[in-house]
Amino acid sequence: MNATAADPAELASSPRKSGAGADRAFQLITAGAAWLVLLLLGGVAVSMAWGGRLAFKTFGWHFVTGKDWDVVGGKFGAFVPIYGTLVTSAIALMIAVPVSIGIALFLTDIAPRWTRGPIAIAIELLAAIPSIIYGMWGLFVFAPFMAAHVEPWLSGHFGNKPLIGPLFSGPPIGIGMLTAGIVLGIMVIPFISSVAREVFSAVPAPLKESAVALGSTRWEILSRVTLPYTRSAVIGAIFLGLGRALGETMAVTFVLGNAHDLSASLLMPSNSIAAAIANEFTEADTDLYRSSLIALGFLLFVVTFVVLTIAKLMLLRLNRQLGRTH
């Protein structure tokens, strides 16, 4: 009894001391978790570069710029898969970004309140569909539709035009970069739109109310208030979608055609990095072949890294410019 009450100073200091220790431990754990990710990332990059060293040593820069993928002759160049990956992802974003922002805006500002929940859930369910289902739907439903209706129309109307003509020429087989890009676009819509919806609804109401009070239209509210306020988060969402599109494997391999041919036409088959690895890894029986596929994986890593870095730099410049004008 006496002992407990005797030393108030000690009583006060001891919990503080143990609290500081726990705090330090907590800090170490969180820092460890953060560093672990970096360590893993570095480990993956290094081990893929190491696995692909034979290909890089044999072909040098030609591995990146070479258009041949000749397994029998032992000549490997990654240009076609890199090109196919970038083009399909670009098409995907061209479709997904406006649609996603439209969806997000509709759900936060325009839709009647009772419809918002069901529509939001339906869109998020799109993200839960396994990618192989998208692939099968693409092959059995969407590709025949493209071959019968969309592609003949495209090549008929644009195939002979200067400049864009080469993009839309070739036989309409329904399988190729355009189809793959559209399927990818549908796949990334839920990723972009759900983040965009979250950040749009976080825009403070007084900002929008002031704009309404000044007589702004919906478009003006979107372009002058909502988008500038949420810019960095929306661009982050777009790059989340882009990351997903770059690495998507199963859905792409079904509808892209998996051919190592370089063609300007979007209607022609091509290959992507992830699809090439998935298709060819099981029977890659020579060291050079296997090494080339691992090197391809490393290049996907590099491509993703470069694209994301460019995005960050763009964002930084944008922020600085806007900072100057205000």
Binding site: D68, I175, T253, A259, H260, P269, T282, A284
Partner: protein, 344 residues
């Protein structure tokens, strides 16, 4: 991407654990035999294994990871037998101290999707098939094709070529045939489990090629015989080396197996394409079993051999039911003599 990089070693780890499980099981009364390799042979091998086990035989655990994987696993000694669609040369077998023998035969069929054309009504020769796959013959009404098919109304549409996108023994046998009948193919893309295709789209697996051919009008592809039957696809007749046009069937595959020169093939290193018989189908594929000549675990090696002997002698019906072709009797005798002489 990262997901896949993580998944691959994980799968390898799981496979390794599996194999360890197999080793432990062998110490108990039930023998468990592990094999890996060709996906082509997997349906018939698993039917044989189920039947063999139900009659009190050993438990056969076969992983269809692809021929290349099967070869490297059996060389590394992680499995009791490997299966490959592409035979190994004798010196490579000797280097790894492996024995090799054929186990079952199947056919590879050129399938087309030409609106209005019935199955077996289109006739093609080997060189024409090679030129189509090389992109030199571009339309179905090309004079060369028309000459082979008098009276048939073939469209002027572009030919959409479909090939495999993954490495495959099917592709190896198909391109081996094209290389034999067409010097320009041999000097160009050549033969292999994956080649540098001059044209066309790639489907993943037999089902991928079958799917593309069914989806794309005016297309041509090549698949295993079972897929032709199951999907009711339109096949083409091919001209064999004796000059006759033959349809793919169990009989024409057997004829090829009988006319092939197995007697003089050391370690059965023979690819049976372009077989000489009058009624032989030109593109047949053989799956070969690889086993160590001096196995580490004699009990398991014996169990595997007993299983294969049983399959060769009594497995014909199951093979036929799954649209494979059993080996002809003289070849079975030759294999049994080879096993007795080589696997200790």
């Amino acid at each position: 991407m990262t997901r896949m990089i993580i998944a691959l070693p994980l799968a390898a780890l799981l496979a390794a654990c599996n194999n360890q499980g197999g080793n432990q099981a062998s110490t108990s009364s039930v023998t468990q035999v592990t094999g890996a390799g060709s996906t082509f042979v997997y349906p018939v091998l698993s039917a044989w294994a189920a039947d063999y086990k139900s009659r009190g035989g050993a438990d056969i655990n076969y992983q269809s990871i692809g021929s290349g994987g099967g070869i490297s696993q059996v060389k590394a000694g992680t499995v009791d037998f490997g299966a490959t669609d592409q035979p190994l040369a004798s010196d490579e077998l000797a280097k790894s101290n492996l024995a090799q023998f054929p186990i079952v035969i199947g056919g590879i069929v050129a399938v087309v999707n030409i609106p209005g054309l019935e199955a077996g009504k289109l006739r093609l020769t080997g060189p024409v098939l090679a030129d189509i796959y090389a992109g030199k013959i571009k339309t179905w009404n090309d004079p060369v094709i028309a000459k082979l098919n008098p009276g048939a109304s073939l469209p002027g549409a572009d030919i959409a070529v479909v090939h495999r996108s993954d490495g495959s023994g099917t592709t190896f046998n198909f391109t081996h045939y094209l290389s034999q009948v067409s010097p320009t193919w041999k000097g160009g893309p050549g033969e292999g489990k994956t080649v540098n295709w001059p044209t066309g789209v790639g489907g993943k697996g037999n089902e991928g090629v079958a799917g593309y051919v069914k989806q794309i009008p005016n297309s041509i592809g090549y698949v295993e015989y079972a897929y032709v039957i199951q999907n009711k696809m339109t096949y083409a007749q091919l001209q064999n080396s004796a000059g006759a046009f033959v349809s793919p069937s169990a009989d024409s595959f057997s004829a090829a197996a009988e006319s092939a020169d197995w007697k003089n093939a050391k370690d059965f290193n023979l690819v049976m394409t372009d077989a000489p018989g009058q009624s032989a189908y030109p593109i047949t594929a053989t799956t070969f079993v690889l086993m160590p000549k001096q196995p580490k675990d004699k009990a398991k090696s014996d169990a595997a051999l007993a299983f294969f002997r049983n399959a060769l002698e009594k497995g014909q019906d199951q093979a036929k039911k799954l649209d494979y072709v059993p080996l002809p009797a003289p070849l079975v005798q030759q294999i049994e003599a080879y096993i007795a002489a080589n696997v200790k």
